[in-house]
């Protein structure tokens, strides 16, 4: 059929772009992580896994990502619970605000936090004035400072993922449970949360992967000083130390593996939720 063949021609440029700017680079990266001039090797992986500095980067990234994901998840879970009781137009406005803030990340976000909590930030001065010792020693350019920023960019994403999951909880279920004598607490404990649990786990892994790959905010705050996997990769490929591209490839592959595992977990748990609803 001519029309089908003609329409197939429209697919060629698209496939070419996917190949050139996505699949080939990733494949080449995987191959180069396994090769030397002599052929196949595992030595890059060996040097990654025996390098304490890089391993510490993985550890920092994983804890930062997991903790920011958990905090954002908990805050947003309750926030969405409250939002669900608002009027339709109020909910719409909140969603617009969330969409706006979901674009507020990277360098601009890092700067906004410098204004709030940097060396002469608004809150930094407040804490000094009120002489709150524990808080005035807080440094934005540290793990806990990064945590605040990560929580910021996780929350809008968490809201967008949790919103439809909450929506799946039907009013009739609550009414039916109430008719049968269940309290609100009992409803959420025995019905609501178990139904949503796979969706919540799925959201967690998306948030986790999102934070694992984040680079710009941490780079803006600490340039290459704070040890995160993404920052390590960036430092290895940006100018100065690009003597070991294979090493960067191996770290990138390991990071990708961590994230793919998180995403697979989310796929799996989202499918499970769908099956139940």
């Amino acid at each position: 059929m001519i029309s089908k063949r003609q329409s197939f021609a429209w697919l060629v440029p698209f496939l070419l772009l996917v190949l050139l700017f996505f699949l080939v680079p990733l494949l080449y990266m995987v191959i180069s992580s396994f090769s030397t001039s002599k052929g196949f090797t595992l030595e890059h992986y060996q040097s990654v896994l025996t390098n304490d500095y890089i391993l510490q980067g993985f550890k920092n990234s994983i804890t930062l990502s997991a903790i920011s994901a958990v905090i954002a998840l908990i805050v947003t879970l309750f926030a969405v619970y409250a939002i669900m009781r608002f009027s339709e137009s109020a909910r719409e406005k909140i969603l617009i605000l969330t969409n706006l803030t979901s674009n507020f990340s990277g360098i601009p976000l890092a700067f906004a936090f410098i204004v709030l909590l940097g060396n002469s930030g608004l809150f930094t001065l407040l804490f000094e004035k009120w002489d709150i010792g524990a808080l005035s020693s807080f440094s934005l350019y540290s793990w806990s400072g990064l945590l605040l920023i990560y929580i910021y960019f996780q929350m809008p994403l968490a809201l967008m993922l949790l919103y439809p999951i909450y929506d799946g909880i039907q009013q009739q279920w609550k009414e039916a449970a109430a008719l049968l004598g269940a309290s609100t607490w009992q409803f959420w404990l025995k019905i609501g949360i178990p139904v949503m649990l796979p969706g919540i786990v799925g959201t967690f892994s998306v948030l986790f992967a999102n934070a694992m790959g984040a680079y710009a905010s941490a780079y803006a705050l600490t340039s290459s000083n704070y040890n995160l996997v993404a920052i390590r990769i960036g430092a290895l490929i940006k100018g100065d130390i690009f003597a070991q591209p294979e090493l960067a490839s191996a770290i990138a592959v390991l990071l990708a593996v961590t994230m793919v595992m998180a995403m697979l977990l989310s796929e799996w748990s989202i499918k499970k939720t769908r099956g139940k609803l």
Partner: protein, 261 residues
């Protein structure tokens, strides 16, 4: 109810946490002096004026618009037709696009940057074109979502068949019937993609660097030199994002209205 108050507290925290940095940065952009006091000592338009007189900023802004807009433009001519063709004629292959969408969405720029640099530095292609190509693919998820949603809500196949049955040519049916109906969703997807790319820093910084200074790279440079100018840049960025978000919200509302026909 006790529990309600508990959830409301979290909601309040959620909104304050999201809004406070935006308010503080905006205030900073308009404050004449603000480094020893809790609140600014005075208000001024000086920083915004300085920024708009800075040729470097105007050029950086132009580059950002050119790069992001260019990528969205290419996507409109390459990705959108491909999605149309697959949805309308080869629905059995749609799952491949979905796999590509998930992969593109979940692979962060910092990983892709390694691959792009490995492949293209030796080939001699201008690296800015490589970033452009990566951008086009990077917005696949948003373009796909926008196109797919509007195609689903109008049942495109039936619409085309009906138009042809009534004597329209294939081209006519596509141009005058299908395109106008899916246009709002498509446009929303394009604007969303533009706003995502406008904020992109990782690929442009790692693959090209300061040789092609976009707004994000300009901002990064100002971060260490002038806080007030940086805050003015962030303010402009926020205004632009706000406008885009607003238009997207309007468009989405309208394309939802189409469903009810």
């Amino acid at each position: 109810m006790k529990k309600r108050g508990f959830a409301d507290f979290f909601f309040l925290f959620f909104v304050l946490y999201l809004v406070l940095p935006i308010v503080a940065t905006t205030l900073y952009a308009f404050s004449s002096k603000w480094n020893k006091t809790i609140l600014p000592e005075g208000l001024t338009f000086k920083w915004l004026a300085t920024l708009f007189q800075d040729a470097e900023f105007i050029q950086a802004f132009g580059r950002s618009v050119l790069l992001s807009g260019g990528a969205v433009g290419v996507a409109m001519f390459v990705i959108v037709p491909a999605i149309f063709v697959i949805v309308l004629y080869f629905p059995q292959y749609e799952k491949f696009i979905q796999v590509a969408v998930v992969m593109v969405y979940s692979f962060p720029g910092v990983i892709l940057a390694v691959g792009l640099i490995r492949v293209y530095t030796t080939v001699g292609v201008p690296m800015i074109l490589v970033v452009l190509g990566a951008y086009v693919i990077g917005i696949l998820p948003y373009i796909y979502q926008g196109t797919r949603n509007s195609l689903r809500s109008v049942d495109a196949r039936q619409l085309l068949d009906a138009a042809q049955l009534l004597g329209a040519s294939k081209r006519q049916a596509f141009m005058t019937i299908l395109l106008p109906t899916v246009y709002p969703g498509l446009f929303a997807g394009a604007l969303l993609s533009f706003s995502v790319l406008f904020g992109e820093f990782v690929l442009i910084n790692l693959v090209v660097g300061s040789r092609f200074e976009t707004v994000q790279i300009y901002l990064m440079k100002k971060l260490s030199s002038s806080g007030h100018i940086a805050s003015a840049v962030v303010f402009i960025y926020l205004v632009l994002m706000g406008l885009l978000t607003f238009v997207i919200a309007l468009l989405t509302k309208r394309s939802k209205g189409v469903t009810n026909i």
